[in-house]
């Protein structure tokens, strides 16, 4: 019995193998065609290093924003019943499935110089978000935050409320209870959500190029640099792509093994 179960039908194995090849081939091609001999030279070039630094700064800033605003949002979505909560839930996670370029256009209409909010920001504070580094962070947050929210919302739902009640009876304020009881309970989910959000922010392309443009040193992150370099310097494009692949691989690999429980518990 067990032997039979361990040996799946040949057709299944073949189809599964094709799927594996489909995913593995492009990534292997990247590794094979990578100009390893000039790798260091390419990666240490000022343009690439600038793009790398900008990518890291922006994606980390977006992750911080996602945690700061996304955690309370997830808490409200999980714990507070209010009219229209389903609409709010859909609205705040919509950018996950929206084509990023659409998100970029929408951001322009809101925060662009003539946008419904952007105009006031410019008039009152002289703040112009489009085509600035802040704009990159904004675009990345817009696209990445839902990953954190959706992971945390599930965690807040499944966290044992009775532990919070126990804390209340011990004289703890809502804030202390949140910090010492609720937060530690959802910490694994928060880590998983933050890593997912960060990875999404790091790879963000469509919304960024639409809303923030492609200015080296200011808004040109690695994905944008890859796109540009494909025309002018294919070797650099390959190396940069490889970096993103390695980072993404590490994220998913780590999540799969360490946080899968928290994650699936969170999404289901």
């Amino acid at each position: 019995m067990t032997v039979e179960r361990e040996r799946p039908p040949a057709i299944v194995v073949i189809l599964a193998a094709i799927a594996v090849i489909f995913f593995a081939a492009p990534l292997t091609a990247l590794a094979i065609r990578a100009p390893w001999s000039s790798a260091w030279e390419l990666l240490s070039s000022p343009e690439v290093r600038t793009a790398l630094r900008l990518s890291l700064v922006c994606s980390l800033a977006a992750t911080v924003l996602a945690v700061v605003f996304g955690t309370p949002l997830a808490w409200v979505l999980a714990r507070v019943e209010f009219p229209g909560s389903r609409v709010v839930r859909t609205l705040t996670t919509l950018s996950m499935v929206l084509p990023p370029v659409v998100s970029g256009v929408a951001l322009l209409l809101a925060f662009g110089r003539n946008g419904i909010i952007g105009r006031s920001l410019d008039d009152w504070f002289g703040i112009q978000l489009p085509f600035s580094t802040a704009g990159v962070i904004l675009a990345e947050t817009f696209v990445a935050m839902p990953f954190l929210v959706i992971t945390l919302e599930g965690a807040f739902r499944t966290a044992d409320r009775r532990l919070e009640e126990a804390a209340f009876t011990l004289g703890a304020s809502r804030w202390i209870t949140f910090r010492r009881v609720t937060l530690p309970a959802i910490a694994p989910s928060m880590a998983a959500g933050a890593v997912l959000a960060w990875a999404r922010a790091l790879g963000e392309f469509g919304a960024t190029i639409t809303f923030a443009g492609n200015y080296p040193g200011r808004t040109q992150t690695i994905p944008l640099a890859v796109y540009l370099a494909l025309e002018t310097n294919p070797d650099a494009a390959i190396m940069l792509s490889l970096i993103l692949v390695v980072i993404s691989f590490g994220v998913i690999f780590g999540l799969r093994s360490r946080w899968l429980g928290a994650l699936t518990g969170g999404i289901s």
Partner: protein
């Protein structure tokens, strides 16, 4: 009276109406079947639920009074709660768990730790101070939960089935520990349980809660001597009927008659202790005034005793020795004769 709880709460099918007063230093056991509203009552006292109407007062401070728009949050009530599933904080150590209440109430970190450590010492739990709750046994967790509640020296200690989740052996041990520790509490203790043994071991007074209402209350011995509901009768294992007594004969609510030597007349409860019910293979001769034939429904063996449930004109449970049960061949389905002396039929007013 340090605790005054007059409250009404409706939650789904539960309609809880309770008037409860407790003195400082007193332990009251709230005993009742599942769904009677015991836990809801406790949650109201703790402030985890608001009462619909009525008034809760502790040491002269109003905790909850919807009419006066007063509601004191749980954290501002001077209470300690021991929950059924201990509910220790899994990410904190045992010491941090016990220090939690002191820290939340403003003690410095070192002061809280010192006091928590001495509390653990009092309960012989010092060796567990650095452990996480996941590493504890059920009995240890429950004791840590007790320590966590006790350390803040609450005016009102609330225990929700603190021993229910434990196995029999552990239960005996922890019951003793709880008993000792509760005696040291200055305030009022309210214990919710469905186990009369817990109530007997830990409380001076019992309140029987059935279907949201207090059906009986008082010193446990009195409640046990004169049960007033089927639940209490079953709890202490006696036969209970209701009827109308006239001149040494009681007409039960179903029309059957039972002879009693008690002098009470009018609406009465009739109590027959199982040990007073004799069983016979054939119709007994002699003095017993109450004799019926019935069918054995069920036999429960408990060590050297056998509890035999007999259906008949009046359904009764008899308690005889296991040997007698064997000799009588009292097996389910067998016809059997029962007799009860009139002097063994107790009556008391309804």
């Amino acid at each position: 009276m340090t605790l005054l709880a007059h409250l009404a709460v409706v939650r789904g099918s539960l309609d809880l109406r309770v008037e409860l007063d407790a003195r400082r230093g007193e332990t009251i056991a709230i005993l009742g079947p599942n769904g009677a509203g015991k836990s809801t009552l406790l949650r109201c006292l703790a402030g985890l639920e608001r009462i619909d109407s009525g008034r809760l007062e502790l040491d002269g401070t109003v905790l909850d009074d919807p009419a006066a728009r007063i509601f004191i949050e749980p954290r501002h009530r001077h209470i300690g709660v021991v929950f059924q599933d201990d509910l220790l904080f899994p990410t904190l150590t045992v010491l941090e768990n016990v220090a939690f209440g002191l820290r939340s109430r403003g003690a410095t970190k070192s002061d809280a730790r010192t006091r928590a450590a001495s509390m653990l010492e009092r309960l012989n739990l010092s060796t567990l101070a650095a452990a996480r709750p996941a590493a504890l046994s059920g009995g240890q967790s429950q004791q840590v939960a007790l320590a966590r509640a006790l350390v803040t020296e609450p005016s009102l200690m609330l225990l929700d089935e603190p021993l229910a989740a434990l196995d029999v052996t552990t239960k005996v041990e922890i019951r003793r520990a709880v008993r000792e520790q509760l005696q040291a509490v200055d305030g009022t203790r309210i214990l919710v349980t469905h186990d009369p043994v817990d109530a007997f071991a830990l409380a001076e007074r019992v309140v029987i809660l059935e279907d949201g209402l207090i059906s009986q209350s008082g010193v446990l011995a009195d409640v046990a001597a004169q049960p007033r509901t089927r639940y209490v009768a079953d709890l202490i294992g006696v036969n209970l009927f209701e009827g109308r007594a006239t001149d040494q004969s009681v007409e039960l609510t179903d029309g059957r008659r039972i002879v009693s030597a008690s002098a009470t007349t009018g609406e009465v409860f009739v109590l027959v202790h199982p040990r007073s019910v004799a069983l016979h293979r054939s119709r007994p001769e002699g003095s017993p005034r109450n004799v019926w034939e019935g069918t054995v429904v069920d036999v429960d063996l408990e060590r050297d005793r056998a509890r035999v449930r007999v259906d008949g004109p009046i359904a009764l449970t008899a308690e005889i020795t296991a040997i007698a049960a064997t000799q009588l061949a009292a097996r389910p389905g067998e016809q059997i004769w029962l007799s009860v002396k009139a002097t063994e039929v107790e009556t008391y007013p309804r």
